[in-house]
């Protein structure tokens, strides 16, 4: 580090020279700003940058590793950078962050449109590694070292404490600001970065006029956000004329609701962290088969007796639209309040006739069921198409199935997607060993005496119960036909799936030799994540 660097802390041991007290305070402010900004940008990066790839556990690991390795790089080069080089790094970081996240979305779109999709994951890693943390990381060792030269070792404690205190402040800001306000979080981050740079440079008061920059960024956000998202979705997800109806930043993810031109006409599409969760015919059919059909069929078997239904992760609220009018109670559990608020106000309520006689709980499905002490359920449905995070994989684990069975009334039915086909495979075959459908069924079979499979047009679904499922399977085709005949719009959205079933004996044979999904099945999650990434960036289909 240059001997002319003026960010040194004063000595603890000696009386401070005139003017250096300001320097000490300045150094602590720099570190507190760095700590706060590191926390803010980590929170944003783990969601926004991950959603560029379509977030999953592998992507989360990639972004987290990039973020922390960027810190290591900053530490490593902290004493190699001249004051001028550090200033250049700071200005470059500032200029990059003025354009984020819009520029990254546009750039990823250009890469994919230009046939360079495989470069997107390395780009996201590089962006996280080089574009976020190195500038902030430089200050801690540099300021400690500047003081230690004359001061012994105590400054490390003081400097690191200042940075940690800044980190705590950043976490507090995340807690207060987050719901729906990514623009404000990033504007605050930009203001912090600018302040850090100006304090480091001992800028003249007139330079503080640059604070118009975060304000302008905040003002320009809505237009740039929507334009960059529309471009990203058009290029990367190959959507026709997407219009962003809403894009919000929840504590869990970025929630995007779009209107897209489809063969069926304009349709709402819901993306969570870059993953499509609602809008296509296959996803409508997923909702139909996993949560609507079991309840409709159970109603038919019990001759329209009032039934108690639980849908876990039913954020699209299709289940509320179609099941709440049926006799009995409907309970929907969704972890992210932003999802249900947006789907309710932008998809369900504009459709008209949206019922209100159902209960919504914002909670984690596992915790909800674990803590549930009320009336048992007649139907429990898990509305998750594919588990690509540990959190969602846990809803496919043997332990969760045991929990669900404990909360079901005798004769009740548990329904879940198999995220693929339960095809015949040779047990022990290396290629088949990790098959998700077989493993989900294996978990169900260790928990429920009876497990059958309903074959949809695109994927298979499992129904499980403590009683034989034959009466339900026999009633399902008629219940489905009756439901689809009620409304032309329903037939248009859901199509006309022809139901087929795998009976219990065949299901048992096909899952034989497979292990249930365990408590922390990272192998399953990472394999699914890899497959999803490969499909998105190495092939044309999503």
């Amino acid at each position: 580090m240059s001997g002319r660097d003026s960010t040194a802390l004063p000595s603890d041991a000696r009386p401070a020279a005139p003017g250096t007290e300001t320097s000490a305070a300045r150094a602590l402010v720099i570190l507190a700003l760095a700590g706060a900004n590191l926390t803010l940008i980590q929170f944003v990066a783990m969601r926004e940058f991950a959603s560029l790839l379509g977030s999953n556990e592998l992507v989360a690991l990639l972004v987290a590793a990039g973020y922390f390795l960027g810190l290591s790089a900053g530490y490593l080069f902290s004493d190699r950078l001249s004051r001028r080089a550090l200033t250049a790094l700071g200005v470059a970081t500032l200029l990059l962050h003025v354009t984020l996240p819009f520029s990254a979305r546009w750039f990823v779109g250009v890469l994919v449109a230009g046939g360079s999709g495989p470069l997107v994951p390395p780009f996201v890693f590089l962006l996280t590694f080089a574009g976020i943390t190195p500038f902030y990381a430089v200050f801690l060792p540099r300021l400690v070292a500047a003081s230690s030269a004359s001061d012994g070792a105590t400054p490390l404690v003081r400097c690191y404490a200042a940075e940690l205190a800044g980190g705590a402040l950043g976490l507090g800001l995340v807690l207060v600001v987050t719901p729906g306000r990514m623009a404000l979080l990033l504007a605050l981050h930009l203001a912090g970065l600018l302040a850090l740079l100006l304090i480091f440079l001992r800028a003249r008061p007139v330079a503080w006029l640059l604070f118009v920059l975060p304000a302008a960024y905040f003002a320009a956000w809505p237009a740039l956000d929507r334009a960059s998202l529309a471009s990203y979705f058009a290029q990367v997800h190959r959507l026709r004329a997407p219009v962003v109806l809403a894009s919000e930043f929840s504590p869990y993810q970025r929630v995007d609701l779009l209107r897209v031109d489809t063969a069926r006409g304009p349709a709402p599409y819901l993306y969570l962290n870059g993953n499509l969760l609602y809008g296509t015919r296959s996803l409508h059919q997923h909702n139909l088969m996993v949560s609507l059909l079991p309840r409709l069929t159970a109603g038919a078997v019990h001759t329209d007796a009032p039934l108690h239904t639980l849908v876990v992760a039913g954020g699209s609220l299709d289940c509320a639209r179609y099941l709440a009018p049926l006799p009995g109670r409907l309970h929907v559990v969704e972890i992210d309040a932003t999802v249900t608020r947006l789907t309710r106000t932008l998809i369900q309520e504009p459709g008209g006739g949206f019922p209100t006689n159902w209960e919504l709980t914002i909670d984690d499905g596992k915790h909800f069921l674990g803590a549930w002490a009320g009336e048992p359920f007649d139907v429990i449905a898990v509305d998750i198409p594919v588990p690509t995070h540990l959190q969602t994989a846990l809803l496919h684990s043997e332990r969760f199935f045991g929990l669900a069975r404990a909360r079901l009334r005798s004769g009740g039915v548990f329904s879940i997607s198999l995220a693929g086909r339960l095809n015949a495979r040779v047990p022990g075959d290396a290629a088949a060993r990790g098959r998700l459908a077989q493993r989900i069924v294996a978990g169900l079979q260790t928990t429920f005496p009876h497990v059958a499979v309903v074959r949809g047009e695109f994927t298979d679904f499992a129904w499980a119960s403590d009683r034989p499922l034959d009466p339900l399977l026999a009633a399902a085709p008629e219940a489905l036909a009756k439901f689809l005949a009620t409304d032309a719009a329903q037939a248009r959205d859901f199509g006309a799936p022809r139901l087929r079933f795998l009976d219990e004996a065949l299901v048992r044979r096909r899952a034989e030799g497979f292990a249930p999904i365990g408590e922390a099945d990272m192998q399953l999650v990472l394999r699914m994540s890899w497959r999803k990434l490969a499909r998105r960036f190495h092939a044309d289909d999503e």
């Binding site: 690991l61 490593l76 400690v144 404690v157 940690l164 205190a165 909670d363």
Partner: protein, 178 residues
């Protein structure tokens, strides 16, 4: 300012790297236990992050070194196993959350205490933070790799194993806290 120096021993470097790895394993395993056995809600995650951070801050700020470093390390390992025990004994019971957060704060305490004890361990803050942080990344990757290859087994064994390695490589005598 100290120039890059290799005066420090390989054992000291190994200990700092292993401690970083230990913190990575500990933090990710603890957060996984919370998500898996209690609730995956953002509030739980934010509270856990906050108490880890505040624990680190307290560990760093506490003056004096009357309690030797191995005891802080032992406390962190104990905090983790208290969390694991609670997870298995009281799944989904968020009434126990204050105790769980206290266990995480105890883990964070050592994360702060470590830097007070070892502030001059590698000759400069640069190398201390670089080696510890890179060890932390290794801990993060190892947690995921462990779960990939061995399922939940590493959640039970890895923190104790990494803690034992930290203890074995802990500097003794005068070099312990320069």
């Amino acid at each position: 300012m100290n120039s890059p120096s290799f005066r420090f021993s390989a054992l000291a470097v190994a200990n700092v790297a292993l401690t970083g790895l230990f913190f990575g394993l500990l933090q990710w395993s603890a957060f996984f236990l919370l998500q898996s056995f209690f609730a995956s809600t953002a509030l739980v995650w934010l509270l856990a992050s906050s108490v880890w951070l505040l624990g680190s801050l307290a560990g760093l700020a506490l003056p004096g070194q009357r309690v030797a470093e191995p005891w802080w390390l032992f406390g962190a390992v104990l905090g983790y196993y208290a969390l694991l025990w609670s997870a298995l004994r009281f799944p989904y019971d968020l009434g126990k959350l204050p105790w769980l957060l206290a266990a995480i704060a105890v883990m964070g305490l050592y994360a702060g205490r470590f830097f007070r004890f070892r502030r001059a361990a590698l000759g400069s803050a640069k190398w201390l933070f670089f080696v510890e942080n890179t060890g932390f990344v290794a801990g993060l990757v190892l947690t995921v790799a462990g779960l990939f290859w061995f399922g939940e087994g590493p959640l039970i064994l890895a923190p104790a194993g990494a803690g034992a390695l930290c203890l074995l490589t802990l500097p003794r005598g005068k070099t312990a806290a320069t």
